[in-house]
Amino acid sequence: MRQVMTGNYASAYGAKLARAEVIAAYPITPQTSIVEKLADFVATGELKAQFIPVESEHSAMAACIAAETAGARTYTATSSHGLTLMHEVLMWASGARLPIVMTNVSRAMAPPWSVWVDHMDSIAQRDTGWLQFYCQSNQEALDTIIMAYKVCESSAVMLPAMVVMDAFILSHTSEPVDLPSQELVDSFLPPYSPDLKIEVGKPMGFGSLVKPDQYMEFRYKAMLGMKASRDRLLRVEQEFKSIFGREHGGLLERYMCDDADVVLVAAGSVAATAKDVVDSMRTKGHRVGLARIRSFRPFPHDEIRALAAKVEGIAVLDRSYTFGSAGAMYTETKASAYSINKRPIMKNYIAGLGGRDITPRVLEKIFEDIQVVSKRGAEDEVEWVDVAGLPRRWR
C-alpha cells in the first residue's frame, strides 16, 4: 500500500519488514526518527526484537556485531559523526563477516558544524569492507534495506551493508512509499541462519589472532565475498522485481544513456533531480544522460567501462571531496574507464557540500560545461561548483 512518509520512517519500516531481531542505536540528527520509530515498533510489540539503547555509536555497532555473531539479524542507523565514530568497528563487522545492515543518513562532517547532507561521512568509510548503496528516493531506502539483507546474508557474500540516504532531502522529506506486506517480504527474505554462530556447547573463539603467514588468506576471502556481492545484488534485484514489481537500477542506474554524447555520473538524491534536467535538456535537443552510482561498494567497474566506451564526455558529481586528490566517485569512475581504448574526456564537479542545494540550474550548467569540455578538454579537471569568490557563476 502506498503511503506518504519520510525517508526515516521508510527506513524504519524497512528494518521492521526485514524482521530485524536486535536493534542497537544511538540518536543523532537527522537519523533520530528512524530509531524512535523502531523503538515504538518494539515497545508496541509490532516488531519482535530487542532494542538496545546504547550509549554511543561505537557501542551500537559493537553490540550489533556481538548479536549478529550470536545469530540474530541486526540493524542500526546513524549519521555523520556517529558513522565516523564507528569506523573501527565497521572494519570489525566486515572482518568478522557479519551481514549487518545499517542506514546512514549522510551528513557533512564538522567543523564547520553542519547537520545537512554531503557524502563525506560514508565516503570516508569506503575501505571498511562494507557494501554501500546510495538511494535517491524513500522507496529505494526501504527496498534497499530488505534487498541488502538478502544480498549480504548469502553464504558467498557474508559482509555488512550500508544504505546511504541523504540528510533531510530524503530523511525528512515525505513522499509516497509503497509499503509491501509482511507476507510478501517474508516470501522474499528468509530468516537469517548463519552456518556458524556463537553458542554454548561450541567452545570456539570468534575473531582470534592470526599470524602473518595466514592473515592474507582471510582478507582474500573477504575480497571474494565483496566480488560475489556484485552478481548477487543483480540477481536479488531481479527476484525483488518479480515479487514487488519494481527495481532500482542494479549497481549503476542508467537514464537516457544509450545515445548520449555526455553523461553525468552522480550518487544519491541529486540523481533524481538530474533526471528532470536530462528530460528538459533532451527536449532542447541535447543528447545527455545520467548514470547513477547506486552501489559504490562494490563499484560498478564493468558498467562504467561499458558506458565510457560509448560517450564523449563524463561529468562526475561528488558530494564530498578527498583532500589531496579529487572526489572519490570521480577517481574511481576514471580508474574504471582507464582500460578502454577510446576514453572519454572526464571532469569532476564538487558540489552540494554541507547541504548546499544542487538546483536543476546548477546541473544544467554542469551538463553544458561537460558538453564543451568533451570537445576541447578540461582546463581544471576538478572544479568546485557554486563557491562564492570563484569566477564562474552557477545560479
Binding site: 506518504v4 547537520v115 533531510f168 530524503l170 522529506t173 513522499e175 533524481a272 533531480t273 538546483t359 536543476p360
Partner: protein
C-alpha cells in the same frame, strides 16, 4: 506542478501543515513531496516548510524558490520575513490574520486570502488559549484558496496526523474553510 511554501515559527507545526497538504493531495491521486527547511531552529524562530504536488512522480529534490502558493501561519512574520520572495506572478498567499484588521501594504500582483485561524483554533480548544495551534485550521483555508485541493481529503489527513482532539481539529479546519476570504489590498 504546484509548489507551496509555508511560513511559521518553530513549535507552530509548520512541517505538519505541509504534511497535511501532501497527504491530502496524495489522497486525491496526486504525486506529492513535502519537506521542512532543513534547519535546527528552536521554538519561536521563523521556519519554513514546503510541498510539491504534481500529476507525475516527483523526482526533483532541490528546494522551492518560486512557489505558486505561500501560507503564513503567523501574521507577525509579515514583519521581518520576506514571505513573498520568489512567489510566481499571480501567486496566492494565505495569511492567518486577525479578523477585522486591515492587511498592511502588499504588492497587488498577488492574491491574498485571510483567515483568523488563531481565533478558530482557540475556540475549538486546540492548543492553549494563549498559544492555539493553527496548523490544522489553516489547511481548511488552503482548500478554499487552492482550486486543486478539496476540503474532504484535507480533513481526512488532519484526522491522521492530529495527535489528539481529532474532531476539534477537523471542525476548526471546516470552519476555516467557510470563513476564508479574499482580501483586498
Amino acid at each position: 506542478m504546484i509548489e507551496v511554501r509555508f511560513h511559521g515559527r518553530g513549535g507552530q507545526g509548520v512541517v505538519v501543515a505541509s504534511e497535511v497538504l501532501a497527504k491530502a493531495a496524495f489522497k486525491m491521486g496526486f504525486e506529492v513531496s513535502s519537506f521542512p527547511f532543513f534547519g535546527v531552529e528552536r521554538r519561536g524562530a521563523p521556519v519554513t516548510a514546503y510541498a510539491r504536488i504534481d500529476e507525475r512522480p516527483i523526482r526533483i529534490k532541490s528546494s522551492i524558490y518560486e512557489p505558486d502558493y505561500v501560507v503564513v501561519l503567523d501574521s507577525s512574520l509579515l514583519r521581518g520575513v520576506d514571505i513573498l520572495e520568489g512567489l510566481k506572478e499571480g501567486g496566492r498567499v494565505l495569511i492567518n490574520y486577525p479578523s477585522g484588521r486591515k492587511l498592511p501594504e502588499l504588492p497587488r500582483r498577488f492574491k491574498y486570502y485571510i483567515i483568523d485561524a488563531t481565533s478558530i483554533a482557540a475556540a475549538h480548544g486546540i492548543g492553549s488559549q494563549t498559544a492555539p495551534i493553527v496548523n490544522t485550521a489553516i489547511m481548511g483555508g488552503f482548500a478554499k484558496m487552492c482550486d486543486k485541493i478539496s476540503l474532504d481529503p484535507v480533513l481526512e489527513s488532519i484526522r491522521e496526523v492530529a495527535p489528539s482532539k481529532e474532531e476539534e481539529n477537523v471542525a476548526a479546519a471546516k470552519e476555516a474553510y467557510e470563513r476564508t476570504i479574499e482580501a483586498t489590498v
